[in-house]
């Protein structure tokens, strides 16, 4: 145990008291700046300003460690009390963010004024992150000079996190993220940003076809007026497929025939793959007293109404087919570049396509039409700082493996006492 001699505040070496005061000061300054200026615009730091800021900040940290390490502030930033107080400040701000719906105009005015509903572009957050990064950077410098092999795990974690966060913060100003709405047969070379402005793109896209595959729908018991699924039957719901048979809500239900795409012809359904067709099934229902009924159910589509099969006259419940969920969807497109190249590609969820520094993502489609959607929305993203961030990510990944090995072997006598 160290002696508990009282140390005056702001006398070297600084400790936790200075840390809390420092964090509080930054918080108050940040809130004041926020009230005065109304927050930050994310693209004011666009290239090359962000590069200069990143180099300047890192240079400042490295320089002050090399030349001014005796300074109270510099030596304090490299030690744990600064790390913990900056972690606490960032945690506090992110905690506020965790309880506040972000980017929402419904928040009370004071919440918006203090920047709590746009936390990541607020002054308190910026100052908190600057403190965090200064502490992280200084701690890295401390272990980096002189370099020792046994510090490699520490350096991977700390330098990796520094690179990752710096790249992410500064890179966000250069992140371009737009959507392109494509309609079959049209060539589109404009994209829209989140404010609804149109931006001319260096690439053009033409939608050839939008494709969707669906999971089979499920059999459910519903309350027809509200369309709600009867709660206690949820665990009994089962997949609709020819030959499937199970008990639901006390009835024995057999699927005699399932059609993925069909159309209604008088009282029956017949297979068809015309625009707007819907899944349907012929089912045989046997109640507990042995009476049997047969009938058609269908989840319907934007063109066809759904079909139910009445079950229970006491509550008015009916047998229904749920709306099938998509299993895959993708867009077949032709990509034209400014340099005159032309190629075909399939853009699918989780499988973006790379073109000249841009990544193209399957973003959405016209949900009213489901698999028959005539349009598809492609998100186009350019993030030139990604290699920086990924460098940090992979360093921290290796660092976290090192972290796992830090556990110590137990002392024998502890065995049962803990």
């Amino acid at each position: 145990m160290r002696s508990k001699k009282k140390r005056a505040t702001w006398v070297s070496p600084w400790g936790y008291t200075e840390g809390w005061l420092f964090a509080l000061g930054l918080l108050i300054t940040g809130l004041a700046l926020q009230l005065a200026t109304g927050g930050l615009e994310s693209n004011t730091l666009a290239w090359p300003i962000n590069l200069f800021i990143g180099l300047g900040f890192t240079g400042l940290i490295a320089g002050s460690w090399i030349f001014l390490r005796k300074n109270s502030l510099v030596s304090w930033l490299a030690r744990v009390p600064a790390a913990i107080s900056s972690i606490a400040l960032v945690t506090f701000l992110v905690l506020l963010m965790g309880f506040t719906l972000q980017e929402d105009a419904q928040n009370p005015v004071w919440v918006q004024k203090l920047g709590l509903s746009n936390m990541t572009s607020s002054w308190p957050f910026l100052l908190g992150m600057a403190f965090f990064m200064a502490s992280l950077g200084m701690a890295t410098m401390k272990r980096l000079t002189p370099f020792k092999g046994r510090n490699i795990g520490f350096i991977l974690n700390h330098a990796g996190l520094y690179i990752l966060v710096l790249g992410g913060l500064l890179g966000s100003a250069d992140l371009q993220r737009y959507t392109m709405e494509l309609h079959e047969g049209e060539i589109v070379w404009y994209a829209g940003n989140e404010k609804g402005q149109q931006i001319e793109m260096p690439i053009a896209l033409e939608l050839q076809s939008f494709n969707m595959e669906e999971f089979n729908p499920k059999l459910a018991v519903i309350e027809p007026n509200s369309g709600r699924i009867v709660e206690e039957t949820i665990p009994e719901m089962f997949e609709v497929d020819t030959g499937n048979r199970s008990n639901i809500y006390g009835y024995d239900v057999e699927i005699i025939r399932f059609m993925e795409m069909s159309g209604k012809v008088q009282e029956r359904y017949e297979p068809t793959n015309s625009f707007g067709s819907a899944p349907s099934a012929l089912v045989k229902v046997t109640s507990e007293d042995g009476t049997t009924t047969e009938g058609w159910i269908s989840s319907g589509s934007f063109m066809m109404p759904h079909s139910l099969l009445d079950l229970d006259h006491k509550y008015g419940y009916a047998l229904a087919m749920t709306i099938p969920q998509s299993s895959h969807y993708s867009s077949d497109v032709v990509i034209y570049t400014a340099s005159g190249q032309e190629r075909e590609a399939r853009i699918e969820v989780n499988h973006p396509v790379k073109v000249e520094g841009w990544k193209l993502y399957q973003y959405s489609y016209d949900e009213r039409f489901g698999r028959w959607s005539p349009s598809s929305v492609i998100e186009v993203i350019r993030d030139p700082w990604l290699p920086v961030v990924y460098t940090g990510i992979f360093m921290v990944m290796f660092g976290s493996v090192y972290l796992m090995t830090l556990g110590k072997a137990p002392k024998k006598e502890n065995g049962e006492k803990l």
Partner: protein, 266 residues
């Protein structure tokens, strides 16, 4: 329509584990009792593993989508980690607590039976799906043990001052758990880039995952700097686990999560 009944597996595992813990109480009396206890406990793990494998095959996708499915893996990992911790370090209470937590989580699944279905939304169909979730659940299970050490430590500190106890198990579990937590977070970032176009969007689940992660970071730094100050450290550890639980279950109920991309259970 499943060819096997999930309830049967869940109930069997619960019974086997409860019996194992009962035998374990008397396991010091004879080798036979100890052996029976171990056999029962491992059988519980085996039955649940078999269920996980069968479920995976039956659904044709990794059963890691719904909260109920993650509870299944949690119970499995927790019992495994608890058993391994006991074997390695001989902490008898860890055996009980992890067993009871595993039983509790299976009990929740028993009380709210799920409709296991095959659907898996396209965004989840990725090579990252299994590593991301498994690594996370594994981290959660390890960190649960560290939270137990913290609670036991705080209890001892406030009510049984004379008893001797150590935080070493907590430290070991946090190093291991935070390592996995970090990997899970970064796998999620890499996946996010492929699926949603960005590695980090401050989605509510991400915000709370960050809070969980930084909470354990705070613990490690505090322990490193002030190893003698055990009580505040144990408080950090207990609170970090509360944040973890909010991240895992609570986020779905927070108004701030109205637009989360991480809700797949509806």
């Amino acid at each position: 329509m499943m060819p096997f009944d999930p309830t049967w597996f869940t109930v069997s595992s619960i019974l086997l584990w409860v019996l194992a813990m009962l035998f374990f109480v008397f396991s010091k009396r004879s080798k036979l009792i100890a052996f029976t206890s171990h056999t029962l406990f491992l059988s519980g793990i085996a039955v649940l593993s078999l269920f996980a494998v069968l479920l995976w095959q039956e659904l044709g996708r990794a059963p890691l989508r719904t909260l109920g499915e993650t509870r299944l893996w949690y119970a499995l990992f927790l019992s495994l980690i608890g058993y391994a911790t006991y074997l390695r370090w001989n902490y008898r209470w860890v055996f009980y607590y992890s067993g009871m937590m595993a039983v509790l989580f299976l009990g929740i699944n028993l009380a709210s039976p799920e409709n296991y279905d095959k659907t898996l939304m396209p965004a989840l169909q990725s090579v990252w799906f299994v590593p991301h979730v498994i690594v996370y659940i594994f981290a959660y299970a390890i960190l649960a043990v560290s939270a137990l050490v913290a609670i036991k430590g705080l209890f001892t500190e406030y009510f049984r001052k004379d008893e001797d106890w150590s935080t070493q198990l907590a430290d070991n579990m946090v190093y291991l758990g935070l390592g996995f937590l970090t990997l899970g977070l970064l796998f999620g970032a890499l996946w996010g880039k492929e699926a949603w176009g960005h590695y980090w969007t401050w989605d509510p689940k991400e915000t709370w995952a960050f809070l969980t992660w930084i909470g354990y970071m705070g613990y490690i730094h505090f322990r490193y700097h002030k190893p003698a100050k055990v009580v505040p450290a144990m408080w950090i550890l207990a609170l970090a686990f509360v944040v973890l639980l909010i991240c895992w279950f609570g986020v779905n109920y927070l108004p701030s999560a109205a637009n989360s991309v991480h809700s797949y259970t509806s």
